[in-house]
């Protein structure tokens, strides 16, 4: 469904991605783990078109989207939940969700779509007239995910959904991600530092080191992998 081959992305002269190859199949949850600065977020930004790939192809449903504009890519059905949530803090919860429907703004299914989001995250429904900035970190993350779902994506790109969130809520959010995948049939590409959680959830996973994929396999395989345990799981295993 989404096939990334040999993608290289630069920030000025600094190369962040050094030829990334990976693919995501329809209906899967694919996780990408790696340490700070490995290029995880850059890869997501490159897929969603906010950063441009200098070389390589990103093929989505048979079309190369590597040089498309971000809003065109959202129209095609790839939506990103950016790192750090990036809620519109002075707009209400409801307005945030309406903005999510911007690409999908026929208005026809809006009432239905928003109800689905509220069913998924009931807390948002209680807070719909509240400003985004007044929500807790976990609620903001739910809002960010809900907002992205409003565009009716085929693929949801999640950038560190556990970042800065209370551990209890992290579990809840990972359960929701699984639900979105299974019940709404949305393909998930998840980038995480919380490697254990990400690998447990994933059908398949990749490890990104210095802008290159070094290890790939099923989530379970990677959980057992000695190198990964040593590099990414030891400290975080207690979570």
């Amino acid at each position: 469904m989404l096939k990334i081959s040999n993608v290289e992305t630069f920030y000025g002269k600094i190369q962040a991605l050094r030829g990334v190859d990976l693919d995501v199949n329809d209906g899967e949850i694919v996780s990408l783990i790696g340490s700070n600065g490995a290029g995880k977020s850059t890869l997501l930004m490159t897929i969603s078109g906010v950063n441009k790939a200098k070389r390589g192809n990103i093929v989505f449903n048979g079309e190369n989207i590597a040089n498309r504009q971000p809003h065109k890519i959202v129209d095609m059905g790839i939506c990103q939940v950016p790192e750090g949530r990036r809620i519109f803090s002075r707009l209400t919860v409801e307005e945030n969700l309406r903005l999510g429907a911007h690409a999908n703004e026929k208005g026809k299914y809006f009432e239905n779509d928003i109800k689905e989001v509220y069913d998924l995250f009931p807390v948002l429904s209680d807070r719909k007239t509240q400003r985004g900035g007044t929500l807790s970190g976990g609620e903001q993350q739910m809002l960010a995910i809900g907002r992205a779902l409003m565009s009716k994506p085929k693929v949801l790109l999640l950038d560190e959904p556990s970042l800065g969130i209370a551990p209890k809520l992290v579990n809840q959010i990972f359960v929701s991600i699984k639900n979105i995948n299974k019940e709404k049939n949305v393909t998930i590409f998840l980038v995480e530092q919380n490697a254990k959680k990400a690998l447990e959830l994933a059908d398949r996973a990749y490890v990104l080191v210095n802008g290159k994929v070094t290890i790939k396999g099923s989530g379970q395989e990677l959980l057992k992998n000695k190198d990964i345990q040593a590099a990414y799981l030891e400290g975080g295993a207690k979570n």
Partner: protein
């Protein structure tokens, strides 16, 4: 308060005095007087020492007060009065305000001078509302808004004097021209943000003014355009003695001729134009493009990731903001019957931005309050002649002291769900 604090405050105020001396010394102290052949310097140190003394004293008083952690009593009472102006009350204010504006021309104390000031305030309210789309909603700081005002005014003046078309045809055309210039400005500044955007828009405002001065063949340069047709009341001109075969306003309605008819008509014209601007802004805020403006102001990357096209969104903000500037410009031209580049200097942009910022970015009612406050105060002190800009500056400082986020800083959510009551 301890002795140490007093000494500290005193030292600090002496230092302030030193700065004041450095500033006032050359500016005030050395006065140039032209006598016969050439300029001569007349020192006036007395005034300098007076000013420096005032600075030291003022600073000392502020220091003592802040050390005590108390405010001047007058500060706190005034500020609490101001903060009771909430959005809820603002709604009542809006309704009474519109009603008042409608009956204003017929109130017993209203004379020609009041009407002129009211028309001026309404022009600034309209400009403020227009700019509010760009600055308040889309968050693009535009310091060259006067350019669109100028484009609107000149479009109207040139079309009306060349082709003799009526105001009602020229008005939309002027709006279209201004919107076109808005897009023209929009393109090069799409990638800029914050201060850099502000600098380029500032430059754009100056470019337009300088073109107006130098493109003599078209704009008549610094001499300006004279004899711009006045608007008619749906085809009825406001003339004492109408031309052959024409009926004028006072004859048609069987009234005694008065110049006030035209003034009152102009007043209602700008009132309607301003209210249209307001209505349009309130409506568009609830549409996808309006929401996208506000979202873009908050976070551009999040917008991109949600499929908002920032290019189009910014361009529409510039174009629509400029269009209303253009409407206001045509009104200005038809009211004055004479325009020249003099009327479109940077200070105009600065005043409009000040109205938007001091009103509370994005608040429609705030713009009204700030216009009345800033323009009204400046007018009240007209007798002070060249010193009245001090009143203008003073008014700005007062707002910033009491309401640092603007008169109405709170933005009302644009959506409330069915049955939800705030």
């Amino acid at each position: 308060m301890e002795k140490k604090d007093i000494i500290q405050s005193f030292k600090d105020s002496l230092f302030t005095g030193l700065i004041a001396l450095a500033l006032f010394g050359p500016i005030v102290g050395l006065r140039t007087v032209s006598k016969g052949e050439g300029l001569f310097i007349t020192p006036q140190w007395g005034v300098v020492f007076l000013l420096v003394g005032l600075c030291i004293l003022g600073r000392f008083l502020i220091n003592i007060n802040s050390a005590r952690r108390t405010e001047f009593k007058i500060f706190s009472t005034l500020s609490s009065k101001f903060s009771s102006v909430t959005e809820d009350k603002a709604k009542h204010f809006a309704i009474t305000g519109i009603l008042f504006a409608v009956v204003f021309p017929f109130l017993p104390f209203t004379d020609r001078y009041f009407m002129d000031v009211a028309i001026m305030i309404l022009t600034y309210i309209m400009l403020g509302w227009g700019l509010n789309i760009v600055v308040g909603l889309a968050g693009l700081l535009d310091l060259g808004y006067v350019a669109f005002y100028a484009v609107g005014a000149y479009s109207y003046a040139l079309i009306a004097t060349t082709f003799g078309w009526s105001f009602w045809i020229c008005l939309p055309l002027a709006g279209v021209f201004a919107a076109f210039f808005g897009i023209l400005l929009g393109f090069p500044v799409l990638r800029l943000r914050g201060d850099y955007l502000a600098i380029v828009t500032l430059g754009f405002g100056e470019i337009i003014r300088i073109i107006l001065i130098n493109w003599y063949e078209v704009t008549n340069g610094p001499d300006g355009i004279t004899g711009i047709p006045r608007p008619s009341f749906f085809g009825l001109p406001f003339k004492r003695s109408p031309d052959e075969g024409e009926t004028s306003f006072h004859l048609f309605f069987n009234l005694e001729y008065s110049t006030m008819h035209r003034i009152i008509f102009l007043y209602y014209l700008i009132l309607v134009l301003a209210l249209i601007t307001n209505y349009f802004t309130l409506k568009i805020r609830k549409l996808p493009v309006g929401r996208a403006w506000e979202a873009l102001r908050e976070d551009e990357i999040a917008c991109k990731s949600l499929g908002v096209n920032p290019t189009n969104t910014k361009l529409t903000a510039f174009a629509i903001g400029a269009m209303f500037g253009g409407f206001a410009g045509s009104f200005f031209a038809t009211r004055q019957a004479f325009i020249s580049p003099e009327s479109f200097t940077f200070i105009e942009s600065a005043i409009i931005v000040a109205i938007v910022v001091l009103g509370g970015m994005g608040s429609q009612t705030g713009v009204v309050l700030a216009s009345i406050f800033l323009i009204g105060i400046t007018e009240m002190f007209r007798d002070l002649e060249q010193y009245r800009m001090i009143a203008f500056g003073g008014a700005m400082v007062l707002i910033m002291v009491f309401k640092p986020k603007g008169i109405l800083a709170n933005r009302k959510p644009t959506i409330l769900m069915h049955g939800d009551k705030k």
